[in-house]
Each structure stands twice: as C-alpha cells, then as structure tokens.
C-alpha cells in the first residue's frame, strides 16, 4: 500500500496579468479570461531553471511532511519544459536537495506527467520506500518562443508542485489508478526541438473532453465508488471551461473540482500538484474522505488516480 503524506508547491514571484500579454500579442484582455478562465499567471526569472523551481517545491513538500531529503528512496520528476534534452532536471533536483546516490528519474510527459508519476509511485513505494514526486515547468520559456502562437502563448505559466508518497501512514491511501496513451494524436500537441509549441486546440478539447471523464469513471466504477461521493477532484489545470465540462460529464457540480487556473494559468504537468498543494493547505482538505486526480496531456497520455482518507494522521 502507498500513502500520500504531503503536497508542496513553488510559484515564481512575477505575476503576469492578461493586460500585459494582451499588449504584446494584440488581443482583447477579456478574450483569454472568457475562453480559459485565466486572468494571470507566474513567470520565472531568467535565472530560475526548471530544476530550481522543482527543488523549491520539493523542499516545501518535505517541510509539510516533516521529513528530510535523507528520508527519500526515490525521486520522480515530471517536466516537458526542461532546458536540456539530457539530462533532465531529476538529478539536478536531487543534487539541490543534497542527495547523492538516490535514484532520480525523469518523466518528460507534458501535462499528464505528475499523474503518471503518482500512479507509478504507488507501485514503486514497496521497493524504494518514500517516493518524492516533483513536477516542474517553465512554460513561459517555450510558449513565448518566437514565432509564438498568439492564441497559445497566454495560456501558460511557470511553477512546480510536489507530492510525497510513503509506504507508511499518510492522510490519503492510493487505492487505484488507470493510465492510457494513444499516439494517434501525437502531432496535435507537440514541442519540436527548436520549434514553437504547436497545439491543435480543437482536437485537444475534443479528446480531453471525452477521455478525462472516461478515465475518472473507469477508476471510480472499478472501485464501486460513485462520483458524487468524492468530495474533491483535482485535475490538470488546462482550462476552466474544460474543468467545467468534465464536471458536467461525470455529474458533479463544478465546485467539486478544485481550480486555481484563474491565478496560475496552465503550468502543464506541475498544475495538478500545485492545485493539490493549495487544496492541501485549505481547511476543507482536513475533513475530505477522498480525492480523485485526473490528467491529460501531449501524447496523448491520460488517466485518473483514486485516493481515500487514510489513517487520519495528524497534519
């Protein structure tokens, strides 16, 4: 069995409001808010790397868990915006935490990487002990790469989230997960080696709007849980309209889906764990009896993870 012990997050200091980007890309500042729910996002400083963001979220998570880096047996790092083709940020994050020899594995899965890492951590915990999942993204560096698509660039922001999964007690026990991939749509959301980010928004929305609810229903039905019985859903923060659509599709009020997209934009694979960390710090998290996570991203890769209230460990 694996337990979620804590979440953590880091957001860069610089807030970039729609008005600033509207001036740069020449659109109505209300347009992006209307179409996506995004009003502002964070941009990292030029001197901040993906690994810097990830290490900051990792430290926050460890502090929330009351643990130290030396307690870790494995680090899983998701990022689709790493500065280098290799090595990815995992080993740098481990080094920043002062670790030597602890395995650190990169998951270069945009958007869905943190969900996949969470599902895999559930299986890896019995062998490795405490697993720290980190998802770090500096999307501003690629979304604004020229020639930037004026309809895509404003969607993204920077940040990092983290989650500690342990073989001992935690607030939530990971019950089950479903993961899926389909390469038929790989070119509909892609980042070439030196090319701008390319996204066929119509295809992404069509596919995500159907696949995310299907994955949630699959994991819930397999465990004989009804969607209305899940107090909180935390999914990849891509677009408020998509979140609302997924909520409608599974038959729960949109308010049941935690959302921070208005303030953070789409931080790709980091978004789910940043949202989880913000929810974790809220009062409502303390009485929650379960969480359903869901994600969808380039590949396409998608899935859902179900966790229920664990041992009631004090936080």
């Amino acid at each position: 069995m694996a337990w979620i012990r804590a979440f953590g997050a880091y957001l860069p200091a610089r807030v970039v409001a729609n008005a600033e980007l509207a001036a740069r890309y020449g659109w109505d500042p209300d347009w992006i808010a209307r179409m996506t729910g995004i009003e502002e996002r964070r941009y990292a400083a030029d001197t901040e790397s993906v690994a810097d963001l990830g290490a900051a979220a990792a430290r926050d998570c460890l502090a929330n868990a009351g643990m130290s880096p030396s307690d870790l047996g494995l680090i899983l790092v998701s990022s689709g915006s790493s500065e280098r083709r290799f090595p990815g940020p995992a080993s740098s994050i481990a080094h920043a935490l002062g670790l030597q020899g602890v395995p650190a594995i990169d998951f270069p899965l945009a958007s869905a990487g943190s969900l996949f890492a969470l599902a895999l951590a559930d299986r890896l915990v019995p062998f490795h002990g405490n697993v720290l999942i980190v998802a770090a993204e500096k999307m501003s560096s690629i979304a604004t790469r020229e020639p930037a698509d004026r309809n895509i660039a404003p969607l993204f922001g920077d940040g990092a989230g983290a989650c500690l999964v342990t073989p001992s007690e935690g607030a939530f026990r990971i019950v089950d997960s479903v993961l899926h991939s389909d390469g038929a749509f790989a070119s509909d959301l892609q980042l070439g080696l030196d090319a701008p980010l390319q996204m066929n928004g119509l295809t992404v929305i069509l596919q995500a709007g159907r696949k995310i609810p299907a994955a949630i229903s699959e994991v819930l039905e397999r465990n004989h849980v009804a969607a209305p019985d899940i107090p909180v859903f935390i999914m990849h923060q891509a677009n408020q309209n998509l979140i609302d659509r997924v909520a409608r599709a599974i038959g729960v009020p949109s308010e049941r889906f935690f959302s921070n997209i208005r303030r953070n934009g789409n931080t790709s694979s980091a978004s789910m764990l940043i949202a989880a960390a913000e929810w974790w710090n809220s009062e409502t998290s303390r009485s929650a009896t379960g969480i359903c996570f869901a994600g969808f991203g380039a590949g396409f890769h998608w899935g859902a993870v179900l966790a229920t209230a664990g041992s009631g460990i004090s936080r």
Partner: protein, 77 residues
Amino acid sequence: MTDQEKIIAALKRVTRKDTVPAADEPLFDSGYLDSFALPDMVAEIEKEFSIKIPDSDLTPRKFESIDRITTYIESKR
C-alpha cells in the same frame, strides 16, 4: 428529415442562432462553433443520429462544415 436537415437542427441547438451557414462554409472560421461548442455539436450529432462516435473519429476536420458532417454520417452506415 434528411441527414442535412438533422445536422442543421443539431447545429441550431448548439449555436442558438436562427441563421445557418452554407453547407460548405467552415463552421469554425465563420464563428458558428468554437473549441468548446464543438464537443457539444458532437454530442448533439450522436443524439440526433443515435450513434456513438468513437474517439478515433474525433478530429475537427470531420466536423468542419455541414457537408463534411453529412459525409461522415453517411460513412458510418
């Protein structure tokens, strides 16, 4: 009702507009559908024709005009 009349009825329910584009007019470029109205259009077509459109067929090109939707529906028979 013909297939095209059914598609137009579905489109009107989604757009809530009385006007209808020409059969070969792009529904997205003309502003009849945006990225979030398209999934609603797909759902209305499934309802109207009592079919389930598989995920593998969910590409915007198949739904970019009334003509293309008509062709797709015919291909499913």
